[in-house]
Amino acid sequence: MTVIFGVFLLTLLVITALAIVRTENLFVAVMLMGIASLLIAANFFILDAADVALTEAAVGAGISTVLFLGALALTNAQERSTTSRKLLSTIVVVAATLVLIFATFDKPEFGDPNSPVQTHVSPWYLEKTPEYIDIPNVVTAVLGSYRGYDTLGEVFVVFTAGIGVLFLLGANPGVGAGQQAREINSGLRHHLIPRVVGRLLIPFIILFGLYVQFHGEYGPGGGFQAGAIIAAGIILYALLEGEKRALEVMPQKFLLGMMAAGGLIYGGVGVVCMVLGGNFLDYSVLSSNPVKGQQMGIILIEAGVGIAVTGTLLSIFHAFAARER
């Protein structure tokens, strides 16, 4: 049953992808991109990847769509109907596709329990996690502890993107924000219904974000998803009430602080572990009981991740929104 569903979604996905390439209206393309992300998320869910599905939905369908729209607002939404070096590209692409398809034979069967992927490293995680870390969500365990170093790097990737956008588009909004920009920023304040509904929703969105943040050990979720969701809530607020109000609540400096602080919290935990005589990011030394230490460490770093992601996404959003058209 789920299999058929999966095939159905995949087919839809391919159709969407082709549509994305074909359409010349960038606005449409962005929207379709959001749909594609949702389809992919659904697929992930079918493939037992709850966390990834959540993230893809929040980040791929949510944040990135917002960013694209922001960019479109500052550029033009229509693409000139020229495709350069069409033939060459087609040849390259077709050739590469064939190579890939050629590579697919010999691949272990889909979902084969005896494939190397299933038999080599992952069983260790599944069987040792209760003993070492003892939290239900193995994904969070791997993410936070076994491969915590990757996650640290990931936080700093986000951080880099954040300072990059601020570096390019200027840290302080309002700079060069002209008449038009202000109109946009005034948001939908004059439209009663969206405001009322939005105000109703925003607290719940943020609440849900916090739930995702702190429930990450037990169910799908964690810092990234939470950060994305909370950021989405605040972006919604900014859309409703306008840039100014949003920035009054969370000034740019504060957001920058969040960006830096998130990374520092994460790294700081690692350093503390080092000081306490463990290896970098070896949480078990944080508490007399290694398991408790691990859990504590994961909660701390997840908090760091959440803060960093929220701060970064909001800074990026504001940087775009503050731009003159």
Binding site: N25, L188, H191, I193, P194, V197, G198, L200, L201
Partner: protein
Amino acid sequence: MAMFLDVLSWILLTLGGISVLIGGLGALRMPDLYTRMHAASVTDSLGAILVLTGAMLQAGLTLATIKLAAILLFLLLTSPTSSYALASAALIAGTKPLSEREQPEGGKQ
């Protein structure tokens, strides 16, 4: 009794599916933006209500039902709002309703 609930839920599910389908058709076939939105939004809300109630009947009195109820509430709040926002945005952007135009053509938003 359970039998009856099951049948009922299936009826609801089917009706919901049909209405969503109609909505989809309308969104495709209607002449301009506003009519399309009309078709889509109305049937969407209806479809959502029907489908979710059906699902709730399937689930019975469990945590799932409560979640579904929450989702339903959420949908009932958001989907009309969004269609309102879209319509007003279109109006600001200057898309005239069909009635005020001569020859019919699809508003492309």
